[in-house]
Symmetry: C2
Subunit: 421 residues, 2 copies
């Protein structure tokens, strides 16, 4: 791969994914306003200007940044009054200067082409809003959307997540949590849903494994680079995801290490990419609740799987239920209903019909009053059931037909329902 | 006890509780309109008239029953048009005639004084709207309110249920369900709540036992007479309820047997008497869901305890959560909040504070970027954290103060937080 093989937009977006940390709203606004290529050129100018003016206190930005914030996405309302006064306000200028200050150190040694080559050697590609595989659902993140995704395996991420559900939860899952995650994943995979998760130990890993076991596709969003399986103990699982037609995706370039903030930002990608998010098992404080919060904020359906109240590992799920953030889901059908179209409505539960189903209230009362051993007359049955003799007589016919009552001399007694033919 | 010792209202209400089945709306309306004594006298007349006119198809009622239905509580809206036409409609006349038909067989051998004597020998009393112990909350049942309650033990049922919660659930409870029922009952008893339940095996029994273990009071609503502990295996438990200041209550007279319909009607008493109802464990079809439905219909708060989704014994609880009938409750504090006044708000969960609590975002990012072994300079930390050098310098101070970062030559490295003094 030479530089000429890579279009400048892809190269610039790859560079931005190295320069700005995930979820950097200012970067998103600058890229949206100038386009990734011009935004990068502007950043290089601004960084040089900043170097030459360091300590002078003047503006560090070489072009008028008012144009960048036409959409108002990234500046404080107070800044708008300044805009009306004919220029970008001091607060927004300071914000841009601060952003240049945090991006500039990463311009040194920046080499997106090298990182694209690393990805290409792994068989991966970069997808972004100008390429077919880009999951357009990420647009809901606004300026927090990543500049691009680094993808190994199936590059058609958009198609993969069009019918999908995120199954997330604690790394420190119990056997119950892992069992349920695998069952739900297999069940929704069988219904044609892609399972999205974070590749972590516990619930995430069980969900990916379940999806594969169910013959389905699964997408892993990593917090670090796609060249470094994390955690290392799940390397074989990630390899299996790729072998089975799934994808391993990250918004940070190869070589990037996962960090606490990157994990939290990664969660927003899972929430935005999947149609719905289900928390399978999560303690009171859990990153999975952060994912659920992102999904709720994006108006995506959120589900939570209940568990024993004696298990602290389910306390976060119960918290979501109590706070009304999540709907209670207990099986794959209900998860499919949450994430699906009308045709995915969970089927009504089929349960064995009770003996008394189909009987009227009076018949049920007579049935209750019928003695099992010694037969009783209709007058006695009327007193026992609290019904008139006419009502008792009317009820005995259907009960006899149903095989629940039988005549015995002048009276009646109960008998077990006859086996159906 | 002679007849002279019993006031006629109590005697008449006791008689009505024998004549009409629990939840008989027509009986409630007739008693409300005429008062229990006159209503009973009217019934005797009407039954005699019915005997003499049986088969003639004419009205069986000896007084103009229009007065009975002034409140409109018990007749179909279609009847109102008839009312406006100047008399009770045919449908309502037929309904009254049918009621007399089902009540009349029980007039034979009616002897409320004998049943009151049975109760008195057991140390019990009858409470009704004219006596102090009557739980006024039952008025919310309207014409479905019972004419009286037969009470053993503490007769001040009103005071007992003023601060109360019903804990109900499956007879076929799991060890989990019984454990949680007992824990919740002990916890709310400790907070001064009376535990109301149905005295059945499983969740009910565990709830009563837990309340006693928690030093609290418990009220048992039986579907049969209070002279017949049901189920027999819980006889010792019911005795213990009485010994510990609790009450055993029924709307049917001594000697009455429980029946399916009486169990279902008994559930409405539990739902109406308690301030809130919590279903601890219930299968998809369970009488406990009937109780929850009554409570919801009475606008009482309803809670459900989640359980493993792999346990069919919790499927009914999850159904209540999914359908929005119940709030998810997981401990006694949350149950108390459901059933209590403002002072009973569940406390916020106290959990061990995470190491990074109180740190700003930039400090967290620097903390993530700090190497553990070899120290790193601020320029390297800025690139790794995606921050400006000035931000890194600003963050290192608080991190050093918190004992999370330490200088090492010209650079910095991470260290474990020092033990608090």
């Amino acid at each position: 791969m030479s530089g000429a093989e890579v279009d400048p937009v892809t190269l610039a977006r790859a560079a931005w994914s190295r320069v700005a940390e995930p979820g950097d709203l200012t970067a998103g606004a600058v890229i949206a306003a100038l386009g990734p290529v011009d935004a990068l050129a502007w950043l290089r100018d601004a960084a040089r200007a900043g170097d030459s003016q360091r300590g002078a206190g003047g503006p560090v930005v070489g072009i008028d940044p008012v144009d960048l914030f036409d959409d108002g996405a990234d500046h404080h309302p107070a800044g708008r009054a300044d805009d009306r006064a004919g220029g970008l306000g001091g607060a927004s200028r300071r914000r841009l200067a601060a952003a240049v200050g945090r991006w500039a150190p990463r311009l040194e040694g920046l080499d997106p082409l090298r990182e694209l080559r690393v990805l290409a050697r792994l068989g991966g590609v970069v997808v972004h809003p100008g390429t077919p595989g880009w999951p357009t659902a990420l647009a809901d993140l606004g300026p927090a959307a990543p500049p691009c995704l680094w993808v190994r395996g199936d590059a058609a991420v958009d198609a993969a997540v069009a019918r999908s559900v995120a199954l997330v939860g604690s790394r420190a899952a119990t056997a119950y949590g892992e069992h349920v995650a695998a069952e739900l994943a297999a069940g929704v995979a069988d219904r044609g849903f892609t399972v999205v998760s974070g590749g972590a130990y516990g619930v995430d890993a069980a969900a990916h494994r379940g999806a594969i076991a169910g013959g389905g596709r699964t997408v892993v969003f990593l917090a670090g680079g796609v060249d470094r399986p994390y955690p290392a103990g799940n390397a074989a699982l990630l390899a299996r995801v790729l072998e089975t037609g799934g994808s391993v995706v990250s918004e940070v370039p190869p070589g990037s290490v996962p960090s606490r903030t990157r994990f939290l930002q990664r969660n927003r990608l899972i929430a935005a990419a999947a149609v719905a998010t289900v928390v399978v098992e999560a303690a009171w404080r859990s990153g999975a609740l952060n994912t659920a919060g992102h999904a709720a904020g994006l108006l995506r359906p959120v589900g939570a799987v209940p568990g024993p109240v004696t298990s602290m590992a389910s306390a976060g799920c119960h918290r979501l239920l109590r706070e009304g953030v999540a709907v209670c889901v207990t099986d794959a059908g209900e998860v499919a209903e949450l994430a699906g179209a009308g045709a995915d409505l969970a089927p009504a539960r089929a349960e064995a019909a009770a003996e008394v189903d189909g009987l009227g209230l009076a018949a049920r009362q007579v049935l209750d009053a019928l003695p099992v051993r010694r037969a009783a007359g209709t007058d006695s049955l009327a007193r026992a059931a609290g019904l008139s003799i006419a009502q008792v007589n009317a009820a005995l016919g259907p009960l006899e037909l149903a095989g629940l009552a039988e005549r015995d001399g002048p009276g009646w007694r109960r008998r077990a329902r006859a086996a159906r033919p």
